[in-house]
């Protein structure tokens, strides 16, 4: 048992140590964005590797969500270049899925859980007869298999967010963007969903870009934590998180590395906000 986990940790460490060797999937080159005279983002240089879990934190108004919307292709950079797999990236791609914070607005209230997942398959022009099996599989993956016929309004917040995640997975994305996805959920549900998302990500090896205002959540989930500073939004510092995976809500949060990083990140943000 101890040996098994030691081997697992060593393997995980190997992966973490290889962060620098990952193939770059998304590259920001001195990207800036302004709405009229208002500068939102300035000089963003960031490379996200394949299969990496990048968390973004920062005070409100620092452009976290704007950065995510740039990657989603919902916004165009006004300066610099965004490249996705070496190509200019300025529009939504079926390869990139977005989990919005306001799940209630992002789901179709007139469709059942099944129907909401189906939307992504319909968008991808998946043949009708192949859909039911795929939908069942995705709902099982997020633990909603017994709620397939329910409408979003009949579900709890956590279930609705799981449903949105299932719809995103239906896209079979190689990159998952999450905009404070668990911000509106209670603490217990949040921890459960954190672990579920870690399990999903490790199974499918999807690259994840995760915006949050919860510093501990960022450390717990991420391979790297990008800290933004506001006015205009810019990258202040990037923290590497070399805590082995799989992570555990109790023990990981008690490790010296976690506490050390937490200390550094809290201090940093406090100084940035001061």
């Amino acid at each position: 048992m101890a040996l098994a986990s030691a081997v697992q940790n060593a393997a995980a460490r190997l992966i973490v140590d290889n962060v620098a060797d990952r193939k770059p999937q998304l590259v920001f080159q001195s990207v800036s964005l302004s709405f009229g005279a208002t500068e939102i983002l300035r000089d963003i240089d960031l490379t996200i590797g394949e299969g990496e879990f990048v968390c973004v934190v920062g005070p409100s108004g620092c452009g976290k969500t704007t950065l995510l919307r740039l990657i989603a292709g919902l916004l165009k950079a006004t300066g610099g270049a965004v490249a996705y797999r070496g190509q200019v990236h300025d529009r939504p791609s079926s390869d990139i899925a977005v989990v919005f914070q306001d799940y209630a607005n992002a789901l179709l209230p007139w469709r059942t859980a099944e129907g909401n997942v189906s939307l992504a398959l319909e968008a991808a022009r998946k043949p009708r007869r192949e859909r039911p099996a795929r939908i069942a599989e995705l709902l099982r993956k997020v633990g909603l298999e017994t709620h397939a016929k329910r409408f979003p309004t009949e579900m709890s917040g956590g279930m609705q967010q799981r449903l949105q995640i299932a719809r995103c997975l239906a896209q079979e994305p190689s990159m998952l963007l999450m905009d404070e996805p668990f911000g509106a959920l209670d603490a217990m549900t949040r921890q459960k969903l954190q672990d579920e998302i870690l399990a999903i990500v490790s199974q499918s090896n999807v690259t994840t870009f995760f915006v949050t205002h919860d510093l501990e959540e960022a450390i717990y989930l991420g391979d790297r934590v990008v800290a933004l500073a506001p006015h205009p939004g810019r990258i202040a510092k990037i923290f590497d998180v070399s805590i082995p995976r799989p992570r555990d809500q109790l023990t990981t949060r008690e490790t010296p590395e976690f506490l050390h990083l937490r200390h550094k990140l809290f201090t940093f943000i406090r100084e940035a906000e001061a």
Partner: protein, 248 residues
Amino acid sequence: MTRLRGLALPLALVLMWQIGAATFGVQSDTLSKPSDIAFALVAGLGDGSLLGASVRTLAAAGGGLLIGAALGVLFGLAFGLLPPLSRLMRVTVETLRPIPAVAILPIALLAFGFGYRMEIAIVAFACFFPMMILTEHAIGQIAPRLMEVARVLRLTVAQRVAKIVVPASLPRIFVALRLAAGIALIVAVTVEVTANPMGLGYRLMTAAQSLRPADMFATLIWVGFIGWALNRALLAVEARLFAHAPEA
């Protein structure tokens, strides 16, 4: 219980009217005893004249509603989806919209003569503008997040309209349809009262002109009942169809 209490006052008034008319023996060309009205209503229903007139009025109102609502929804969708088009057409719309539907009666009469077609045209005109404006408004009310989901999923324009825009605005469009159905009935009866020799409005008019107040009031009560029943029926359909819509 509250509903029963609400009925107390109208029932008391009718009763007082009946007692008053019976005691003082009111003889009038414009008023009638409630009991006479009730007899006239039963007689009208019995000989089929009231039902026949209802069928004609409802056919004209329904036909006009169908045409006006369909065109209104189509134009509303176009304007809602293409704001520049909406801005371009605004002056035209705002010029035509305030014209009372009944005011186009002479034109419709010239174009179509008496009968269904004229009445349907006027009802359609009356229903068109509210349907168009409320449909456009309904599209404006769709959560911007849903349109972003559509973009992120890369739905085609046709898919966006069919899978997002129409179902998202349908609850509000149905409310508009319910309002338009009320307008359709009002306009149809008005056209029949003023010009078109058919339907409930005409029955109302002839009863008044031939000094049969009981028959006139019976028709009036029947028109009110039809309007009420229509609204109730549409409310029931609405509740069934849009049980899962967060708000209408």
